[in-house]
Amino acid sequence: MGVIVAENLVRQFGDFAAVRGISFDVPAGEIFAFLGPNGAGKTTTIKMLTTLLRPTSGRIELDGLDPVTQQNEVRKRFGIVFQDPTLDDELTAYENMDFHGALYKVPRKLRRQRIEQLLGLFELWDRRDTRVKFFSGGMRRRLEIARGLLHHPKILFLDEPTLGLDPQTRNQLWTHVRQLNQDEQVTVFLTTHYMEEAERVAQRIAIIDHGQIVAQGSAAELKQQTNSQSLEEAFLALTGSSIREEQADSADRMRAMSKIYRRRSS
């Protein structure tokens, strides 16, 4: 049995099924990539695995524990970098890091040391005492990632971590993640839109579309299965080439509104 397991996992929102009976099994120490077009059910799956959402049916397991009934134990085992922003704008970069470290019980001395190391790595150390609300989009994203790496969990979820990052930062991120994976056998579950990234980092890839897993295997296996030259080609062969619309949730709408407001007042 793997360290992340899903069996016939289903999640309905009203009569819309976001996830329709998916199964996968990620062994300990693996880097596993979840690929899929927008709205395929990647984030919904991660939310269920990380105790934010209860499944409609099916079974999930994290390190042998049930995220539905053993929430607190499960939460001790994973770390996550979310797809959308989760920083406190009114706190400084350092305070956001420190808050996280305290919540995750990283001992004070180690906390300070890692904060300095990570903020340095993502080139935010000089801005550590600036409130996040004065940060650019790229800086926020970097801080978000640095924070996600502050404690060293057994399982690390990365939900489209590289979205909007420059190649340098992307490179830092993956180097760091691979190091964590090798040195501490951290199991990594990631989603991304960048095929070459998945191919480079992940040992195994699952392709999800319309809430169902359409193929699973190593990048080489997926290419072979579809007779493709590249993973991108394999991905398109498996998921078709039509563009998907994602529904904006209330948070997205609100963020859009606040942007309009800020523009007007400046």
Binding site: T51, N72, D88
Partner: protein, 248 residues
């Protein structure tokens, strides 16, 4: 414990950093003090009820704590909208403790805001004449703060955006304030209104404050204290339960 402390600290930092909010929230109590206190004062005096400022000040202080507390609780919606809530919801800390930390932080903010208004009332001529009971008055303020922050948190746990907010302000928070006896003595109002006031938790807060600050009361300080304690605990329980059931 660390979790409660760090969440409490966060609420405080946010408060201290939003100076415009601190100043803005003083406008309403000032208006009440000036317009009602000085406007209705002469009539109150003619009715042989004594100084209206003396009577009104505890009500205005309670109002400030009520509004700030409910807002602090409702701020949860903000955290949900801007994502920060997720950061706390996946943390390896029981959600009831997270709710408790947030609520104590919000309540502290409400209490501080209340104390600022106490100072404003003193400037306006309010004189508490039961100095020995001042610690007890502080306890009443703290209980009002905790109770209504918990109410705000409980409500915010059920809402995903601010659309229901006006509804709550107009049909819950405003009535709780206006029917609590903050502005008028309860002993002379019609019986139906007395009943409504007696199911309003703020009534006991206002009455307790008045009892401890100026020695006039309707229910009596021990009863006020007992009822507030029970409701505050119940609201903390309810808020904790609803908060721990949030799905995103």
């Amino acid at each position: 414990m660390t979790a409660i402390y760090i969440l409490w600290l966060r609420q405080l930092k946010r408060y201290v950093r939003s100076r415009s909010r601190i100043i803005a929230s003083l406008g309403q109590p000032l208006l009440f003090l000036v317009a009602l206190g000085f406007g209705l004062g002469p009539i109150f005096k003619r009715a042989h009820e004594g100084s209206y400022i003396q009577f009104l000040a505890p009500g205005v202080i309670a109002m400030t704590v009520l509004f700030t507390a409910v807002f602090s609780g409702i701020e949860l919606i903000w955290d949900r909208q801007f994502g920060f809530l997720k950061e706390t919801l996946v943390a390896p800390v029981p959600r009831t403790l997270i709710m408790l930390g947030r609520t104590l932080g919000g309540a502290t903010v409400a209490l501080l805001q209340g104390l600022i208004v106490v100072a404003v009332c003193l400037i306006a001529g309010f004189r508490p004449h039961m100095t020995a009971l001042l610690p007890l008055a502080l306890l009443f303020l703290a209980l009002i703060a905790i109770l209504f922050t918990a109410v705000g948190t409980a409500i915010a746990s059920l809402l995903s955006d601010f659309q229901g907010f006006q509804l709550i302000m107009n049909f819950l928070v405003m009535p709780m304030f206006f029917l609590s006896g903050a502005l008028f003595p309860l002993d002379m109002v019609p019986a139906a209104m007395k009943i409504v006031a007696s199911i309003d938790p703020l009534t006991y807060g206002v009455d307790g404050l008045r009892g401890t600050l100026i020695g006039s009361f309707y229910f009596g300080v021990p009863l006020d204290l007992a009822i507030l304690l029970v409701i505050a605990c119940a609201m903390l329980g309810l808020g904790g339960y609803l908060f721990s059931r949030i799905q995103l």
